[in-house]
């Protein structure tokens, strides 16, 4: 079956599976024998994007390493909901670290495996956005700098959800959290603060950096698989909508992740050794309002008084991403970030 025919099949290559494709072209998730690294019975909220993203990423890593994978996991939602004593949802070797030292723990694992001559066993370290961009940042930067053989995955739900939705360095402007209330002249999180962690990782010039979302499974799995083909420090930043913290419908998790990409709010790209090598194009561009309106954390932008000037500022940020990363089809001459620093 050639590519042309596949492209024009009912759902092209966007759905999880496709009964008309041969097995080799299926996603890992379409496989009944997928490892289900994070299995049922976990205590994540209904519609949890992080639980979904973790299974997507780790199942793909499990396939890429033929099941020889160890994970270190920072404190956070993912750790709390998956391992209340004496239960565990992990079907892979898994170790809980402190909130801030998951990269260092992973470094130790990689070093130990090296000493034992077990280069076949690979290490993944994972954390939420708080454990990555704030509390774990020092350890992570060190891990990057030493180029330790670890894939670090950040599941970004844009705030400290586990402790009650406090602002993190990954919380976007105007979003309401418990610590950035929707009050005053500039309600919600302030503009001009926070960290762009994927670009910080690029700036470390590590072998591989990528962003992904739970809405683009084929893209996510490809990036995880690609990451496992490198040795050294690698970083994948996955956007995982949080119905609780975002005030969104539990059924809208994947939809919101998709809208984050289609608006330009969350650019999908890959970088190798400090250079951006690929960006995913927007298929159907939509204004940011479509992404913001379904989320309770942005409710103050619409009621009781509409705040078009804030919407405009958010749109400008999205437009900047679109121009910066060349997210529209045909815009290959993008102003790439790697060039900016030089």
């Amino acid at each position: 079956m050639d590519d042309q025919q596949v492209k024009f099949y009912q759902v092209g290559s966007f759905a999880v599976g496709n009964r008309l494709l041969d097995g080799g072209k299926h996603t890992v998730q379409a496989d009944r024998a997928r490892s289900n690294s994070l299995t049922s019975g976990h205590r994540a909220c209904q519609g949890c994007g992080e639980a979904l993203g973790a299974r997507y990423a780790l199942d793909a890593a499990m396939r890429a390493t033929e099941g020889r994978l160890i994970a270190a996991n920072a404190t956070g939602c993912l750790e709390v909901f998956s391992t209340p004593y004496p239960e565990t949802s992990w079907q892979i070797p898994w170790l809980h670290s402190l909130f801030g030292n998951a990269p260092a723990i992973a470094t130790g694992m990689a070093a130990a495996l090296k000493v034992k001559g077990r280069s076949d066993i690979r290490v993944v370290s994972q954390a939420g956005d708080g454990g990555t961009v704030d509390i774990g940042f020092g350890c992570l930067s060190g891990m990057f700098e030493r180029n330790d053989d670890v894939l670090f995955i950040c599941y970004d739900n844009e705030a400290y959800m586990n402790t009650g939705v406090q602002r993190s360095g990954a919380t976007p402007p105007a979003a309401r959290t418990a610590t950035t209330e929707a009050v005053g002249a500039e309600p919600g999180n302030v503009f001009g603060q926070g960290k762009n962690m994927p670009l910080l990782a690029v700036a470390h010039e590590i072998p591989y950096v990528a962003t992904a979302t739970v809405a683009e499974l084929h893209d996510l799995e490809r990036k995880v698989e690609k990451a496992m083909s490198f040795r050294g420090a690698r970083y994948i930043h996955i956007l995982v909508p949080c119905p609780l913290g975002w005030g969104s419908a539990t059924s809208d998790t994947v939809r919101l992740a998709r809208l984050a990409c289609e608006t330009g709010v969350f650019p999908l790209f890959e970088a190798e050794n400090g250079e951006i090598t690929a960006t995913s194009k927007i298929r159907h561009q939509v204004p940011v309002e479509e992404y913001l309106r379904p989320q309770g954390r942005y409710k103050h932008l619409f009621t009781p008084t509409p705040r078009p000037e804030i919407l405009k500022k958010i749109q400008q940020l999205a437009d900047r991403n679109i121009a910066r990363f060349g997210l529209l089809a045909g815009s290959d001459e993008a102003e790439l970030v790697g060039a900016e620093g030089s």
Partner: protein, 542 residues
Amino acid sequence: MMQKPFAITLDVGSSLANKTGSWRVERPVYVDRMPPCNDGCPAGENIQGWLYHAEEGDYEAAWRGLVEDNPLPAICGRVCYHPCETACNRAKLDEAVGIHGVERFLGDRAISQGWHVTVDRPPSGKRVLVVGSGPTGLSAAYHLALLGHAVTIYEAAPAPGGMMRYGIPKYRLPRDVLDAEIEAICSLGIRLELEHPVGDVVEEMQDGSYDAVFLALGAQLSKRAYIPAADSARILDALSFLASSEDGEPPRVGRRVVVYGGGNTAMDSARTAQRLGATEAVVVYRRTRAQMPAHPVEVEETLAEGVKMTWLSTISRVEDGKIVIEKMVLDETGFPQPTGEFETLEADTVVLALGQDTDMSAIAHMGDMSVRDGVLQVDDDMMTGHPGIFAGGDMVPAERTVTIGIGHGKKAAHSIDAWLRGERHATVARHELATFDRLNTWYYSDAPKTVQPELEGIRRRSTFDEVVGGLEADNALFEARRCLSCGNCFECDNCFGVCPDNAVVKLGPGLRYSFDYDYCKGCGMCVTECPCGAIVMEPERV
């Protein structure tokens, strides 16, 4: 040494002990909805169902699914006005799926490959007479034969097919295709008696000891209009004009032909006249183009062949070599009114295509038959006022198309079957319609409709070769794969993938999925991400 998986040291319990299904207030449930194509098909085809097989390239399975409802796919793929495509949800994305092209491909393939159906039911011992071998009669005969009844068809004409042979020109329906599908139906053990006009239905029923009769006489009489005409004027009625170009001497039409009327028969007459040598064919219709009863596709094709149309005009009189027409205007109610303005058109021949009536002489004497507005009244089971005599097609109240006739034939066959057993045919409740807003179209990639190759316009005008070409195997597959499978699972694995709780069980090819309600938390993500809208949330029973 403990038997533990690699690098596992502690004895821990699995979270599988924690049945998170207890959190749920709503549960997802798989459903099948009525795709709009199926909903719109007068023959009751399960279009989405047979396209599903065609998508895999299993054309025989697709054809078998198709002929469960319609025994004439090669014909319908050519002449049906495809209300399925008018209803198709894909039209809101790019263009409707070219269902008729795939249907025709399957029908042609069955003819060339010799696929055929067989009667699996044991003989019922009942004898049923079908009067008329048009699409309605053939469809009824086919379904009655499959239900195990002994079927005889009486046909007044020398060849079977009814209007498909004597009304639809060859350039729309080649006769080898017509003959092949009729022959396949008759090979089910149906007895076909040609040149057997029925004078009195009740008599025929008794003479042949039939247990039931299905009347599908069609509408064979051209309506006439009084038009003052010179003795030398050449005026033909459309049906005999079309029929005589089918068998025997084609009529001589002269250089200029005027066709009076705005229906499909008028279009066919004008196109046929050009093929018979007329240099100019003009359609005269008393209302506007928008009000023409002809199907837009036919109007389009007719205009493309160079036929001229004079709308808002009536013929006042026919003289030698010319006609006088009066211009009309529409009044507030949309009805044409005369203006008193006249024009002259050259015309060697005038063809009247003003509609058709049924010859009711076979039932005229029966007191329990009710004919109103020229059509025979039937009940919901297609039974006339006379017990055991059913009727359908052009002679009963309905739009007059091949496909509606086929639908009538199928429905009547099931009603007759039930009636012969002293029962009533139970109709299955329809599923809720799979509307466009229930789809998640993000998952469907863009695909343009395969354009059927059309013969050069100039070539159409000179021959009776078929105008619209068929699809080939690979573009038929392509077209089938444009189907969105509205409202019916096509196993894309999305629900299986997007569940954060692994609560969807994939059952394997053709078996779809089930929910593991022990763990499903009821987030509803599977519903939102199902491309075709085949999952709904239902309140949890407390």
